[in-house]
Amino acid sequence: MERAGIPTALLCNLVPIAQRVGAPRIVPTRGIPFPTGDPSLSPPEERAWRRRLVERALEAVCTAVDGPTVFEVDDRLGTRA
């Protein structure tokens, strides 16, 4: 998809694998079985966390990169249970 000119953001937990295979924009998530969730949070908190992940992914596709780049989500807002 990148070769065809479509920038992608990959939301995943296994960041080293994504880097190894060359995914250009990587947003780290909290567990393999729930890339856009966190079952340890209350439903409203989980939805807020998901929104921040997707917002970060959208920022990533608007950012020029030249190789695998990690776009961490700022965790200081305290949604980590």
Binding site: P7, R50, E55, V61
Partner: protein
């Protein structure tokens, strides 16, 4: 007598250059152009019974062109299909590689020649590819290498680096005397003594230069793509839970959220309990719709694309990527948010 069909592009059969690059597949009796020299080098035990040719744009750009070309070649009952040499010519190299890959899949022995830097090398599958020079000026020595390798392929002798082999060499399952645990202990002892060869080569991955960014997501269509195998309840299209060979698409028009019970993951590689409680843990439609309403996302693509990334071979995954890219470009999607488990 070994019956050979030779594949060439529009230029080497003498139809034309870029002006004839769109020409479709066709067939000529006997050897043509470089095929005449190749016939002379192969001698009387071989007969180039036909030359199949195609324009480079058609051969490398039209889906299914490789199968069309192979069908023409098979019409001549070949014992062997040979393609090229393609030197560093990209589209021609891709065409040669795909033709020999298709022939090999169909059980017809096949071999191509091109330069190491030809981008087509990746597409040759399990077929043998040998080195040519970089440019057509080196046709002579390139055909010498090619003819020698053709002779080896026909009698089933291995073609190795020594014979000019380039590209990926297929790895085949074999049964050996010692079990893997014993071999692992042998390897430990060899390593402790300073030696010992790994049985597995370190992989080389195809590096794709990242696409340029979009200026803003507020004005464009964004797609949701996932390998998490999230499908409508009941898995109506039978997505595989492992070793997926295909991908599916599900409409999101008029869908604001993915309700538990209506969508489920059939992925075989992780526990889907959390995902089935709330499918947005795999495909974040709820917040994507919210961001669309707030015009952070211009428009969300009308469907999501899905496969199961569980033991999926790299070759299938690469094909999904190519097909997704074509699909999304047709729909004028400009960026993709991809979730992976």
């Amino acid at each position: 007598m070994t019956r050979v069909v030779h594949y060439l592009n529009q230029f080497f059969v003498g139809i034309g250059g870029e002006d004839a690059a769109a020409s479709g597949p066709a067939s000529i009796e006997g050897p043509v152009g470089p095929g005449k020299r190749l016939q002379a080098l192969l001698g009387d035990d071989f007969e180039i019974v036909a030359t199949v040719h195609c324009g480079d744009d058609h051969a490398a750009g039209v889906p299914g062109a490789d199968e069309e070309i192979l069908a023409l070649a098979r019409g001549h009952q070949p014992d062997l299909v040979v393609a090229g040499p393609a030197f560093t010519s990209g589209r021609y190299g891709i065409a040669c590689a795909r033709v020999v890959a298709a022939a090999t899949r169909a059980g017809v022995p096949a071999i191509a020649a091109m330069h190491d830097d030809n981008p087509g090398l990746e597409d040759a599958g399990a077929a043998v590819v040998v080195r040519s020079g970089p440019v057509a000026r080196e046709m002579g020595p390139s055909l010498d290498t090619f003819a020698a390798a053709v002779r080896r392929v026909v009698v089933g002798e291995p073609v190795t680096g020594e014979h000019g082999r380039i590209g990926r060499v297929p790895r085949r399952n074999v049964l050996v005397d010692a079990n893997a645990a014993e071999r692992a202990v042998d390897l430990v002892l060899a390593r402790l003594a300073g030696g010992g060869d790994s049985e597995v080569p370190l992989p080389r991955f195809d590096r794709v230069p990242p696409a340029p960014p979009v200026p803003s997501t507020a004005d464009v269509t964004v797609a949701l793509v996932t390998e998490s195998a999230l499908v409508p309840d009941g898995n109506p299209d039978g997505l595989e839970s492992a070793r997926a060979t295909r991908w599916l698409r599900y409409a999101l028009e008029d869908v604001d959220e993915l309700a538990a019970g209506q969508y489920r993951s059939v992925h075989g590689g992780f526990s889907t309990v959390f995902a089935n409680e709330d499918p947005h843990r795999l495909v974040p439609l709820d917040v994507a719709r919210e961001l669309e309403r707030e015009q952070v996302i211009g428009r969300l693509h009308r469907e999501y694309l899905v496969t199961a990334g569980n033991g999926t071979s790299v070759s299938n995954a690469r094909r999904f990527g190519v097909e997704w890219a074509a699909e999304l470009r047709r729909s004028e999607v400009r960026a993709a948010v991809f979730t992976a488990t």
